[in-house]
Symmetry: C2
């Protein structure tokens, strides 16, 4: 990004707004705080974005766009066998959530409860649901050959999602329990990731 854009007031406001909205949600966020954090006068925020709502929509859109490519490429590595591909997906998804720890709560609190935003989100990740359907066909075949336990792909994806967002959704409690020791935290996360992979693998592998 060019130096001009990076330091433009409009961009500074967007960055500050992202922080504020992700940390505090729409209700908790203050346009005055955003302006202050961005180092601009409050009037400038309204000059560029007119309303708090419009500024918020910009952040929502940005966040959604960050999720789409992950979702559509999650089970993307067609060269791997089915089970390995799913194991990869769990791992990649876990890492993505850890790299974007505020996203799950933001989605849960600000996107899903709003009809319009929820449907916009669904339309954006529509491709993902087609992938799920295709994958189900593949699973049915492989399971018919007795190579994996039969399973519902959508349910399995929900399980992966649930398990992987846990550390970020419960981040405060986790911190509270492990203290602020970075080493301990990383050990915990590694354990958590390994456990999630094991859970999913045990579920689908042929007994």
């Amino acid at each position: 990004m060019s130096e001009q854009i990076a330091q433009s007031k409009e961009y500074l406001i967007l960055e500050a707004a992202e922080q504020e909205f992700l940390k505090k949600g729409y209700d908790g966020a203050r346009t005055t705080s955003i302006a202050k954090a961005a180092g601009v006068t409050h009037a400038m925020l309204h000059y560029y974005f007119r309303t708090k709502e419009q500024l918020f929509e910009r952040i929502i859109d940005k966040k959604m766009e960050e999720i789409v490519p992950l979702m559509t490429h999650l089970f993307g590595n067609g060269s791997l066998p089915l089970v390995k591909r799913i194991e990869e997906a769990v791992s990649i998804h876990f890492d993505f959530v850890m790299a974007n720890p505020d996203l799950p709560k933001f989605l849960i609190n600000e996107v899903l409860p709003n009809r319009e935003r929820c449907e916009l989100f669904r339309s954006k990740i529509e491709g993902f649901f087609h992938i799920i359907t295709d994958l189900q066909g593949e699973v049915d075949e492989v399971a018919a050959r007795g190579e994996v336990e039969q399973f519902n792909v959508l349910l399995l994806f929900q399980s992966i999602l649930s398990l992987n967002i846990f550390p970020s959704v419960m981040a405060n409690m986790v911190e509270n329990m492990v203290g602020d020791n970075k080493q301990v935290l990383e050990t915990f996360l590694a354990q958590r990731k390994a456990e999630n992979i094991k859970l999913i693998m045990q579920r689908i592998k042929k007994i």
Copy 2:
């Protein structure tokens, strides 16, 4: 509860506050809305509870108290063998979350992020962590005899929690996907519950 208490303004305010705070969170809740929903003047709310914060704490306390007995009795049926006891726990916990669908989000958004409240909550469920420790000893024994796969009880509990809160945390998206057909929703929930039990059972059972 006596008719007097049930219809007392104080109690009406508490009930309305519970609805409002659970649905909208602290920031989104309005004391004026609460008073209106309770059918009392706004001044009465402040007369009984002084501040929004104090009213909120009352609701927080109540909600915590609802969770404590569940947690401490989750793995309580000592007469069952280990694996069955855990299966029971998954089932009971799932049903509890479904019966209290707003609780997980409330805990995640209003309790855990607040240092004081989070520690208060931890102190209230301290007994639960002792149960986890005891259970770990039992697991180590049974696993040493080769009757179950070795596993970490705390990690497993986290997995159960993650999997079971999914439908309520994603409730809006689930509704959006299954429509408002009650039959379809119940089928989904039954599927989800069976899948969670299967996931946990497969994880701990000896291969």
